[in-house]
């Protein structure tokens, strides 16, 4: 094959966020704003899920962006930029959580559920609202894992790294989350 017949290769491009991080390290505020536009919504969604408070989540989001600004020069590319931002957001939110007034309701992990048809029933009835409500009642670790996999599109190993747990635990948490949801919905059915 001659080289002329080869389709022009696109210039290999690293994670496009890396250029923003580099620009930020050199003091480019517009790069920070661009990074915020790209990932702010996603990080804020994560923080609201963690903190259950829009106002505090927005404040912590600013702390995360401030930390990203300061720490851009030290970013080593061991993960994607978004994962790095999520890791900082996670640390910040955990620190806020441990200092806040505890929520009244704490759920056990193992809510038994045998009726495998219930989710199906809910699906048929399109009763998303009840499932959504049940999602809010999931134990924090299960809900967080579910969101990383389903919303932030992380693979099992990526989520495991962020959460500091084994991929097997990610798997078991996701499965437990589904079982817990079943249990919550069953309980509602019975009430």
């Amino acid at each position: 094959m001659s080289q002329q017949s080869v389709a022009p290769a696109m210039t290999p491009t690293p994670d496009p966020d890396l250029f923003l991080i580099r620009a930020m390290a050199q003091g480019d505020k517009a790069a920070l704003d661009e990074l915020y536009q790209r990932h702010g919504r996603s990080i804020l969604s994560y923080l609201i899920g963690q903190l259950n408070d829009q106002q505090i989540a927005e404040e912590v989001l600013q702390d995360v962006m401030l930390a990203a600004w300061r720490g851009a020069g030290g970013f080593r590319g061991e993960s994607k930029v978004k994962t790095w931002l999520l890791a900082i957001a996670r640390l910040k939110s955990l620190n806020v959580i441990r200092r806040r007034k505890p929520d009244g309701a704490m759920l056990h992990d193992n809510i038994a559920a045998e009726d495998t048809g219930l989710m199906k029933k809910v699906e048929i009835n399109a009763d998303r609202e009840r499932v959504r409500q049940a999602l809010t009642e999931l134990p924090d670790d299960q809900r967080e894992t579910l969101e990383l996999i389903f919303f932030h599109d992380m693979s099992g190993p990526e989520a495991a790294r962020l959460l500091g747990i084994s991929p097997g635990t990610v798997k078991s948490r996701v499965h437990r989350a589904k079982n817990t949801l079943r249990g919550l919905l069953l309980r509602r059915e019975a009430e």
Binding site: M1, V6, A7, A9, P12, T13, P14, D15, L18, R22, M24, A25, G27, K29, Y36, G40, L44, I48, G49, E59, D63, L66, W69, R70, G71, G73, G74, F75, R76, G77, E78, W84, A87, R90, L91, K92, L94, N95, R98, R99, K101, M106, K120, V131, P139, L146, E147, I149, F150, F151, S155, G156, P157, A159, G164, S166, G168, K171, S172, K178
Partner: protein, 722 residues
């Protein structure tokens, strides 16, 4: 190649790692099995609901206020060039040296032109509209799995909704002396797609950093030269939220080109998991399940693991087991993990091994049995899984400590669960005024018990907590953190408005304040009581030399943001613990020079403490273990396993006792480790969050505060050395 199991395929689908082959296998199963279709439909719907739910949290991203950008000037940036570091460390420009392709290289397809792309999109859109007119209400999830590699033209069926990857392939071709990859894709009902290169390990796609393109059209062609360590390409659809349906598909053009059809492949362990359960009679059992690829058989052995090295335990050892299967055995302190080795039919290939700790084992193992400490073990050169020439494990572990630990430490590695009731009692109990919410306990060296609450900082007489405490009032939202200086003179608080306040501990007078753009959360005084560092920020606030109220902040640029930081008792060393990678660095406080590096497990560490002389570092992690490390060698000295995250840890004055809090929601427990006996006791459990606890100056009492306004003083004299 054996067909992957249903469970494996389902998890690959759920966790966004479905490959083309797996996708085909999954579709084949779904075609003939309504029950499986229903199962995957459940997950599909759950994914959609989660996405919808999370998306709904943020209607509109708030703009960063102008004051925020002013803060950027105030905090500045730390030195460094991430791009250079990443290029040299993470993105090697070397070229993959591939053997000649077995098939003649194909003529690469020309990339679609803009006009052609637009025309194709219009035709495609029209086709979708026509086909969607006959769409049924219920989605056929079997059809909506992504990654159908053929046909090359859209094959939309009327009963499919949501994003759909109609076609996706990636083919290698020669480009000069190198090998490039051409990617072709066709999607339906999506706004744009993202394509990225990466690697597939054990069936899981790991994104690389070399090639990422977002916002690409729903169908098209592109080509690129992959980085040396990238052999896979992932296509993910991008869609306005809420997004429903499968989103990604992976192709492995370079693996396929080299190893068609995986005949030469090394055996792979696809999944290996374990689950512990109570199997009666005071025993804990575990089921282990595995799936492998390219293995003729597997060998499973029970054992235990210390610092990542597997040791044979003796309960279970079977060779010739099938490539996919399950086994069970009873757990004890020497048989807590299982090792799986996948053996290839080709004797020249080294078995691939993996060790797994069953979920739910820690905290259960030994609860009804008598356990004996495992002696210290020094791994020999031959018992590491990656030894050349195969894997050799001693049938009996050898115990040859290279350097005996400091006798003063009296620490022997153990995995013993506490089985002895604590010789401790609650000696007194007080109630915070105004039903305040107790968050943290501190005990100054001059015997003042300091309790952080929502109303502020309560200062008790440590000798009698029933006396009325004094209050250092907090603003409306309370304090973020409170610390007391080692010389007992100062109390520093940080509030949610980022105001750091220095108080005179004796008089309660405000000596000075410092308003910083950064949140100085999780603070610590340095040993000389002259600085405050933050465990999450990368700087410190210095007290004025002549005027302690003249607070100024400065950077510690050698620290990293996604790490926790702690200062040693002598103030000479900072330890930095990676929040997610388990990396531990001991740094010279003055210069930032790394004195020692070692690793703990990659699990979030938010409870860290030095013992009194700085020779031992305790790290409590979210994996439920509290680990003790020798700070001169980095050796792991001891592990205390629990079934909940370790949320705080502290040593008493002479380090004879160590207290830590384990978060086993809905209950919390305060544990105390006795150095001399190497026993661990639970001294208190509570159904509400227990914040950091504190020892009194003589180390024989422990203060515990709770959110329901309780202040408990636990008498530990029965635990102290006689």
């Amino acid at each position: 190649m054996a067909t992957p199991s249903w469970e494996h395929l389902l998890w690959a689908y759920v966790s966004n790692t479905l490959t083309d082959d797996e996708n085909r296998a999954l579709q084949a199963i779904l075609q003939d099995n309504p029950a499986r279709r229903a199962e995957i439909a459940e997950w599909h719907r759950l994914r959609a609901i989660v996405r919808e739910d999370v998306s709904a949290r943020v209607r509109e991203l708030p703009q960063l206020p102008p004051t925020f950008f002013d803060k950027l000037d105030a905090v500045g940036t730390l030195p460094g060039d991430p791009f250079q570091a990443i290029q040299t460390q993470e993105m090697p420009r070397g070229r993959r040296q591939l053997p000649p392709l077995r098939q003649p290289p194909r003529t690469p397809r020309r990339p679609v032109t803009l006009v052609a792309a637009v025309a194709a999109m219009l035709i495609f859109a029209a086709l979708v509209i026509v086909l969607n007119q006959g769409r049924q209400e219920a989605p056929d999830f079997a059809q909506s799995i992504p990654g159908t590699p053929t046909p090359k033209v859209p094959s939309a069926t009327p009963d499919t909704i949501g994003p759909l990857i109609v076609a996706f392939d990636a083919d290698p071709f020669a480009c000069g002396d190198e090998t490039c990859v051409q990617v072709n894709w066709q999607t339906r009902d999506v706004q744009s797609v993202r394509i990225e290169s990466g690697t597939v390990r054990a069936g899981v796609f790991e994104a690389g950093t070399w090639f990422v393109q977002t916002g690409l059209p729903p169908q098209g062609t592109t080509s690129f030269e992959p980085a040396i360590d990238n052999d896979a390409v992932r296509l993910c659809v991008e869609q306005p939220e809420p997004l429903t349906g499968p989103v990604c598909s992976v192709a492995t053009p370079l693996i396929d080109a080299v190893d068609t059809p995986n005949a030469q492949a090394q055996p792979q362990i696809i999944t290996f998991t374990g689950q512990a359960y109570d199997c009666g009679g005071g025993s804990i059992c575990a089921d282990f399940e595995w799936q492998t690829r390219g293995a003729e058989s597997v060998r499973v052995r029970s054992g235990y693991s210390i610092t990542g090295v597997f040791y044979v335990g003796g309960t279970y050892d079977r060779s010739g087991l099938p490539a996919n299967g399950t086994v069970s055995f009873v757990l004890d302190e020497r048989n807590m993990v299982a090792e799986l080795c996948a053996v290839s039919a080709d004797q020249s290939k080294t078995p691939v091994c993996e060790v797994v700790l069953p979920d739910g084992a820690i905290g259960n193992v030994g609860s009804g049995t008598t356990l004996t400490p495992i002696p210290s073990i020094t791994p020999s050169a031959t018992n590491t899984p990656d030894s050349p020439g195969g894997i050799v494990y001693p049938t009996t572990p050898t115990y040859t400590p290279q350097s005996p630990p400091d006798p003063a430490l009296s620490i022997t590695p153990s995995l013993n669960e506490p089985i002895v009731p604590a010789p401790a009692r609650i000696s007194s109990e007080a109630r915070l005024p105004n039903d305040d919410v107790g968050q943290k306990a501190l005990w100054s060296n001059d015997n003042r018990l300091i309790v952080q609450g929502m109303d502020g900082v309560w200062i008790y007489d440590g000798a009698n907590v029933n006396l009325q405490p004094r209050l250092l009032p907090a603003p409306q939202n309370g304090f973020v953190d409170t610390v007391v200086s080692p010389d007992n003179r100062y109390i520093a608080t940080q509030d949610w408005d980022r105001l750091l306040t220095l108080w005179d501990a004796a008089s309660g007078e405000v000596l000075g304040t410092h308003n910083d753009p950064q949140l100085w959360d999780d603070m610590q005084f340095t040993a000389d009581s002259r600085q405050v560092i933050s465990r999450l920020e990368v700087g410190m606030v210095s007290l004025g030399v002549d005027n302690p109220g003249n607070l100024t902040s400065s950077s510690l640029p050698f620290l990293q943001y996604d790490h926790y930081h702690f200062a040693s008792p002598d103030g000479q060393t900072l330890v930095e613990v990676g929040a997610i990678n388990g990396a531990v660095r001991m740094l010279d406080f003055a210069t930032g020079e790394t004195r020692l590096s070692f690793t703990t497990e990659p699990s979030l560490a938010r409870a860290v403490a030095f013992n009194h002389d700085g020779s031992v570092l305790a790290i409590g992690q979210d994996d439920g273990r509290l680990r003790l490390f020798d700070t001169t060698t980095g050796d792991l000295l001891n592990v205390m396993p629990h079934n909940g995250r370790v949320s705080s840890v502290i040593f008493n004055d002479d380090s004879s006792l160590m207290a830590y809090v384990v978060d086993t929601r809905p209950s919390f427990a305060v544990w105390v480790w006795n150095r001399e006996t190497d026993e661990v006791y639970v001294t208190m459990t509570y159904d509400l969050d227990i914040g950091p606890v504190a020892f009194n100056p003589t180390g024989d009492q422990l203060a515990v505060v709770t959110p329901d306004s309780k202040v408990f003083i636990i008498d530990l004299t029965g635990l102290q050395p006689q």
